[in-house]
């Protein structure tokens, strides 16, 4: 079953990381990506630029409206994702718990809806 693992962390906290902390963080994500590839559950994954670079698009009454920033102000913000193919929710939960961001942020585990 495919799951999208959405990585939410507090960008303010992330921004205050020293260079050494940032490097360590990158290394952990690198190790994680290797692990999921080795376990053959990895489908895709990307880091995202912070919400300061986001644009929100809505179309109402035929008009396209764009606003600066994420769709809503939240305490934690989406910083990246992994798409994994796991046996069941327990495996997805276990994988999600190993994402470095899980230690101070939240990982939302969403099953992918397959239409037949």
């Amino acid at each position: 079953m495919k799951y999208l693992l959405l990585i939410y962390t507090d960008e303010n906290v992330d921004a205050r990381m020293s260079e050494a902390e940032q490097e360590a963080n990158m290394a952990e994500y690198y190790a994680f990506s290797n692990m999921v590839r080795e376990r053959k559950v990895y489908e895709s994954g990307e880091a995202l630029h912070p919400t300061s670079s986001a644009t929100t698009v809505r179309v109402r009454d035929g008009k396209t409206l764009t606003t600066d920033g994420p769709f809503a102000e939240t305490k934690e913000q989406l910083g990246g994702f992994y798409m994994v193919d796991c046996k069941d929710l327990d495996e997805a939960i276990e994988i999600a718990s190993r994402i470095p961001g899980a230690r101070h942020g939240s990982i939302e585990v969403r099953p992918v809806w397959i239409f037949e």
């Binding site: 079953m1 799951y3 069941d88 929710l89 327990d90 997805a92 099953p111």
Partner: protein, 413 residues
């Protein structure tokens, strides 16, 4: 069909229902489909068995018949690839001969873990456990938890959908997850029991059917858990519930009023259940894997062994609460410990301990009730009245309120 035949068939249905449903859910991975086809099978059984007699292996007969109905249904609506795959799986899986004496495998343990998966909300876990494994209908569960039937039906539907959509597994958790998951399962069963034992609001103090269901499910759990060590706390919980439940007949008097433990007519206590509870406890204590349920059961056993309230071994109870508080520090346990200490060293000793808990427990009515009781015993009537007032302001159970009011009147009168 004769009345007698009908009764025998009904009894057989009730005995087999849980195991057959669990087997079907395990194979079909669909709660609703499983229930629907089992219903179909029961209707067919009623007809067939009244003519041909009850088969030697009714459980296997029902399972096979229900599976055939499932195949029919899936064939008719099988435009989904997922259902096609399931269809193939069911059709090719080994069909038990229904006059084969081998009992159907017991999938209820797997189902308990599925229903109590941590990704489901606690209220969903409770509702689903009672609906699928317990013998309660949606209406009965709604009534027990004081919500409307549509609300409960929706809660159940959402839980089933989540299990399907999120891929919650239908299996016993792997050993590294088992202790944690078992803990969660036991917590659900205890929650169900407590809701039945001391209903948090509403008109009756006890909802018997919830207590009975919790005990029944815990027994099944204990029977099905492999090995000794993971089941220690499960057995401890069973002992605890049996012992608490043994007081049931004495907790409410003829006038419909709540009776405290110390005032209960102990001749009304269920001695058979007490005997079973103590035997279960002694067997598990010998495993030397102490846990919070076992300790609570031990406390309850000490009460049960005292033929009169005066003979209660309070010093040992106080010691057990001390142990319990170390294992599971909580203000609630601290209150109970203070009460036990009061029984050993006098009300003032107990009151002193309670004083320290004011901040944590200001909104917990049993705290004020305990305080009030100790103040009453040390003849501080005004302070006691005040404390009973505070308890009343927070308590929502009709019978408990009536008790508190009676005490308050005593203090003021």
């Amino acid at each position: 069909m004769s009345e007698k035949t009908h009764t025998v068939i009904e009894t057989t249905f009730r005995q087999e229902y849980g195991r057959v449903l669990a087997a079907l859910i395990s194979q079909l991975h669909d709660f609703e489909l499983a229930e629907d086809v089992l219903q179909d099978a029961l209707i067919i059984a009623l007809e067939r068995w009244s003519e041909e007699g009850i088969p030697r292996n009714p459980g296997a007969w029902l399972t096979t018949t229900a599976k055939r109905r499932a195949i029919d249904r899936l064939r008719r609506h099988s435009n989904l690839a997922r259902k096609q795959a399931l269809l193939v799986e069911i059709e090719t899986s080994e069909e038990p001969e229904y006059d084969n004496m081998k009992p159907i495998p017991d999938d209820r343990l797997k189902l308990m873990f599925t229903c109590c998966h941590p990704s489901l909300s606690l209220e969903a876990q409770v509702a689903l456990t009672l609906r699928t494994l317990g013998g309660l209908s949606t209406v009965e569960i709604a009534r027990a938890f004081l919500v409307s039937e549509p609300t409960m039906a929706q809660r159940l539907a959402r839980a089933r959908n989540k299990i399907r959509d999120a891929g919650i597994p239908y299996s016993i958790p792997p050993s590294h997850l088992l202790p944690e998951r078992l803990g969660a399962l036991l917590a659900v069963l205890y929650l169900i029991f407590n809701e039945g034992y001391c209903a948090t609001s509403g008109d009756s103090l006890i909802r018997t059917e919830l207590c009975r269901e919790a005990i029944r499910l815990c027994r099944i759990l204990v029977d099905l858990l492999p090995g000794d060590s993971p089941s220690a706390e499960a057995r401890g919980l069973l002992a605890l519930m049996l012992l608490h439940d043994s007081h049931r007949a004495a907790r409410v008097n003829a006038a419909g009023e709540m009776v405290l433990l110390e005032d209960q007519d102990r001749s009304l206590w269920d001695r058979v259940q007490i005997h079973e509870g103590i035997a279960t406890l002694e067997a598990v204590l010998s495993l030397r894997k102490a846990g919070i349920y076992q300790i609570q059961a031990a406390i309850s056993a000490l009460h049960a062994e005292a033929l009169t309230a005066e003979e209660t071994d309070w010093p040992q109870i106080a010691q057990l609460y001390h142990l319990l508080a170390k294992m599971s520090p909580s203000p609630v346990i601290a209150v109970n410990r203070a009460v036990a200490i009061a029984m050993v060293d006098g009300p003032c000793a107990g009151l002193q301990r309670l004083l320290a808990l004011e901040e944590a427990l200001g909104n917990y009515y049993p705290y004020h009730a305990a305080r009030a009781d100790l103040l009453r015993r040390s003849n501080q009537r005004e302070a006691a009245a005040d404390a009973y007032q505070q308890a009343l302001a927070l308590c929502q159970n009709t019978l408990e309120r009536a008790y508190l009011q009676r005490r308050l009147d005593e203090m003021n009168g």
